[in-house]
Amino acid sequence: MILDLHGKLMGGPDADNIRDLLHGIIDGGSKKIIVNLGGVNWINSTGVGILMTGYTTMRRNGGDLKLLNVSDRLQSILYVTKLNLIFECFDDEAEAVESFFRE
């Protein structure tokens, strides 16, 4: 399951929307999710927190969440907060999908 996010990712209403999206996906039976951030032109630490919460939610439900098309800026935030050790990041959709099957 690939979730394409667009626009801004920075808390406020965005947090709720994404939580709802993820719960919808879990309820629909999917456990493996790739969040495509290619369309996200704007992110801050709260946006990263939203992804983190999504990750925790998926793991708690026996699933996983990986990131696709991480911008330079997000990369810097992940690196400094050491969350790069938690999130698997990919630049290539096929590789991201494949990684789920290899496990």
Partner: protein
């Protein structure tokens, strides 16, 4: 000698974009390199987010003031809100571990502290809080 640029905007998330634009233009003009530029822009946005959320409680009648002071050897950015501040002295002693995977929030100050050369909090005499961020221009332009 320093040249100052001031931007003031209502406490709504949608204006963060605009601050980001201005910030990037200033950073570019000063010749910061890519990584340092990213670190400044990220930190300024974190500070502005805190000012509008925690300081001004997202009240659109309250402005956030941002002053970019372009100095020969550094950029200093001051972000001011009209809120009551918080116990930053104590907070800075025990910044929470940002890898704590169960928390959605609480990484902003940690990020600013790591990315900038100086991070100074100050209560304003007329009320409100000021956060001061500094980044040095390294000699090779980084």
């Amino acid at each position: 000698m320093s040249a100052d640029i001031l931007v003031a905007f209502p406490s709504e998330y949608k204006y963060l974009n605009l601050v980001d634009l201005v910030c990037n233009e200033i950073i570019d003009g000063m010749g910061f390199q890519h990584e340092a530029a990213n670190e400044i822009a990220i930190s300024v946005i974190e500070a502005c987010t805190n000012a509008l959320e925690h300081g001004n409680k997202c009240c659109p009648e309250e402005n956030v003031h941002v002053i970019f002071s372009m100095q020969p050897d550094r950029l200093v950015v001051e972000i001011q809100d009209h809120g009551e501040g918080f116990d930053f002295k104590d907070y800075l002693k025990h910044i929470p571990d940002p890898t704590n995977i169960h928390k959605q929030r609480g990484r902003g100050i940690f990020i600013m502290k790591r990315m900038m050369d100086a991070l100074i909090f100050e209560m304003l005499p007329d009320g409100g809080m000021k956060v001061k961020l500094e980044k040095m221009l390294s000699k090779n332009g980084n």
